[in-house]
């Protein structure tokens, strides 16, 4: 009797185990279904969703589903999913363009040989996504940082125009500080880096073409010292994250901020009377930071042709015009510069104007992510909290060189 009972029990365990393994049969007649993971959780989310909607409406044979999740979540799930041939067909692996190298290490990316004419796409992005002559991603977007300024605070301080040169920039930041407001709200971590712009304005830089640190160059040290002086005088707060810096500007407690197009909608909603101006001209001419999110295809996708068709459409003129108008981002194409509809949009025009002078953060640098988390972020953190700039620059330089493998 007991034997029978155990036999029944065993049989039911096996049955339960098996019932979970029903395999779905693929439907060969319906449209090809592609999934796309992105980290666009911000105010620009709607613009991307609009793109997907348009694509699905105009393509009967391909249907794309976009799953939006935080960048952190993608960083945890996507590497193993793609390396084992699972996960979505397409994804934006990170907001940092340097991520492409990490995924190439594990051969997770499909080489894109059928995404149309890429010569009209932003050259900096294409260069960043090309490895050994093959293209592995297209720009999902391209953004530049520009100078947001609070018109009310400028008026109150008796300044009638945003600063045009780096000298005016520093003077205005000091003059606009007071009455509970800071002159310049600048973040130093958990965001797209803004401090490199300040360095570039004074002729400094982080690494040279060989990946060797130039943080301790004379221009750099002198330039950073002048910014640190402003920080110490209270004109710029210390240790803000990107979100904290944004809150400060939305609360009307910061006169100026370097930020991308994604911030505009939130500031308008918060009722801030703001303008977007070019980043003041540096000692070596105009410069700002550009950033681009890579959009790549899994090497393990079952539908490489359809996925590439989607990328070709995404970077095409119609889609980019729609996206720019909805989001305020400049188009990823260079041939839309003269487009009258885009030119009439103030935000798009302001950010697109900076494209020619935009530089990427640590492009092509070995271990760029680690340089950022373990050397550059701590370096800015130290100098804004009183460590001697020259000393900190030398120490951070050693760390950077150790990571990039610079021979010095």
């Amino acid at each position: 009797m007991r034997k029978i009972a155990s036999a029944i029990a065993a049989a039911s365990v096996v049955a339960i185990a098996l019932s979970g393994c029903g395999a779905a049969t693929p439907d060969n007649n319906g449209p090809v279904e592609l999934t796309l993971w992105t980290g666009f959780t911000g105010g620009d989310r709607g613009a991307y969703e609009g793109l997907i909607e348009t694509f699905n409406e105009t393509h009967d044979d391909i249907q794309v589903t976009m799953e939006v999740q935080p960048w952190d979540t993608i960083a945890q799930k996507l590497p193993s999913a793609w390396a084992t041939g699972q996960g979505p067909d397409l994804a934006t692996p990170n907001f940092d363009p340097n991520i492409v190298a990490k995924y190439l290490d594990t051969k997770s990316l499909l080489a894109l040989d059928d995404v149309g004419d890429t010569s009209k796409l932003a050259p900096a992005a294409i260069e960043a996504f090309t490895v050994d002559g093959s293209l592995y991603a297209v720009p999902a977007n391209i953004a530049t940082l520009q100078l947001y300024y609070n018109k009310t605070l400028f008026e109150a301080a008796g300044i009638d125009a945003p600063p045009a040169t780096v000298e005016e920039f520093k003077a205005d930041a000091a003059a606009l500080t007071g009455g509970g407001a800071v002159g310049l709200s600048i973040a130093d971590h958990e965001t797209i880096q803004m401090w490199p712009i300040l360095q570039w304005l004074d002729g400094g830089d982080i690494v040279d073409a060989k990946g060797c640190s130039v943080l301790d160059s004379a221009e750099n040290v002198a330039g950073l010292e002048s910014w640190v002086e402003l920080v110490e005088s209270g004109a710029a707060p210390v240790g803000l994250t990107g979100a904290e810096s944004d809150s400060l500007f939305s609360a009307g407690k910061a006169a100026m901020q370097l930020n991308g197009p994604w911030a505009a909608a939130g500031y308008a909603e918060a009722g801030i009377d703001f303008g977007v101006a070019s980043v003041p001209t540096g000692v070596n001419g105009p410069v700002t930071l550009g950033s681009t999110v890579p959009l790549a295809i899994s090497a393990g996708t079952d539908h490489p042709a359809e996925a590439q068709e989607f990328l070709e459409w995404w970077t095409g003129a119609d889609a980019q015009r729609q996206f720019a108008l909805a989001s305020g981002f400049p188009p990823v194409r260079t041939d839309l510069a003269e487009d009258p509809e885009l030119g009439a949009n103030e935000v798009v025009a302001a950010f697109a104007a900076a494209l020619p002078s935009a530089r990427l953060y640590l492009p092509g640098v070995t271990g760029a992510t680690q340089v950022d988390t373990e050397a550059y972020v701590p370096f800015i953190g130290e100098i804004t909290r009183g460590t001697d700039v020259a000393k900190a620059a030398a120490a951070a330089g050693d760390k950077i060189n150790a990571i990039t493998g610079c021979e010095g």
Binding site: A10, V13, I16, A83, G180, G239, K253, T373, G381
Partner: protein
């Protein structure tokens, strides 16, 4: 699988006389095993396998999905012990754990003894203390981070109202760790209180009566009756809180992400950064194993320290 050939065989063997019974009982076929099988399977697949696998990772320069994983032996551990960020993270983790556990148990015990009587007010106050425990750490971290924002937060506003200068609680490397510890204590003190309260309520009244007859005062009652009687409860709550503190992640990640200048960088935030930002899985696994060993050693020490001696 469906029949049970082992049980009659084992049961039938009667090697007679010495040692027989123990040997016979060793492998007795029980249908209970079958019912436990799904749970054991889950345990093996989701607990045992990942733990051993992570040790395997830690011996490699592991890159997810690569065809060939580079074997580095104990190289990751050597690199780790030479990494000043690791020693910093270890120091922060231990500091965080010791201070927060001592405060949580101390304040929890004090609250438990103060609120032990069953009055309506006491019940309400207990619920208030316990409330933060049921809220997710990440939520608490976000709320506190907002409250503590020096320029637009509530705490800064109150300080300014009284004419003070706003304090950069989370941006100042000297204040960030104490601030995070404060929030952690605030959250967990209610948990410690409830568990200790249950322990205190379990102490028989006769012990107190006897002690009072012997002329013990309140302090002596506390020290010689309550505390020794709730030793198993103390052990339990200390161990749980210590292990939780050593593994602290969500609170730190949300409030400071290990910053500023690594002032709140714990072993787990460092592990997360190495694993999921720098994608150095082998190195991150080595950190995980060091933490695992530390937790094992500390738990063993605590078990010894609080050992329940029947002679007492």
């Amino acid at each position: 699988m469906t029949s049970s050939p082992i049980s009659p065989a084992v049961g039938a063997v009667r090697p007679g006389g010495r040692g027989g019974p123990t040997q016979r009982r060793r492998f007795r076929w029980q249908p209970a095993w079958l019912f436990a099988f799904p749970s054991i399977l889950i345990l093996l697949v989701f607990i045992v396998y990942p733990i051993t696998q992570s040790f395997w990772y830690s011996l490699h320069n592991w890159r997810i999905g690569a065809d060939v994983q580079e074997w580095v032996g104990l190289g990751n551990y050597e690199e780790l012990f030479a990494d000043e960020l690791f020693w910093n993270a270890l120091r922060i983790t231990l500091l965080f754990s010791v201070i927060s556990v001592v405060l949580q148990i101390g304040l929890g015990y004090w609250a438990a003894t103060a609120l032990v009587r069953e009055t309506l007010l006491n019940r309400i106050v207990r619920s208030v203390f316990f409330f933060p425990t049921i809220v997710a750490l990440a939520t608490i971290g976000l709320v506190w981070r907002f409250l503590l924002d020096p320029r637009i937060g509530f705490v800064g506003g109150v300080i300014q109202l009284f004419g003070g200068d706003p304090v950069a609680w989370l941006q100042d490397p000297n204040l960030a760790l104490p601030t995070v510890i404060f929030v952690s204590v605030w959250k967990n003190v209610g948990y410690a209180m409830v568990i200790l309260l249950a322990g205190i309520k379990g102490v028989p009244d006769s012990l107190y009566e006897a002690a009072r007859l012997d002329g013990a005062n309140a302090r002596q009652l506390n020290w010689h009756v309550t505390l020794p009687s709730i030793r198993p409860t103390l052990l339990f709550v200390t161990m749980i809180l210590t292990i939780n503190s050593l593994q602290v992640f969500d609170l730190v990640y949300v409030m400071t992400n290990g910053g500023p200048l690594f002032a709140t960088d714990t072993l787990v935030t460092m592990m997360f950064r190495e694993g999921f930002t720098n994608f150095d899985i082998g190195y991150a696994s080595a950190i995980a194993w060091v933490l695992f060993v530390i937790i094992m050693v500390l738990s063993a020490l605590q078990l010894r320290l609080f050992r329940y001696r029947d002679v007492d």
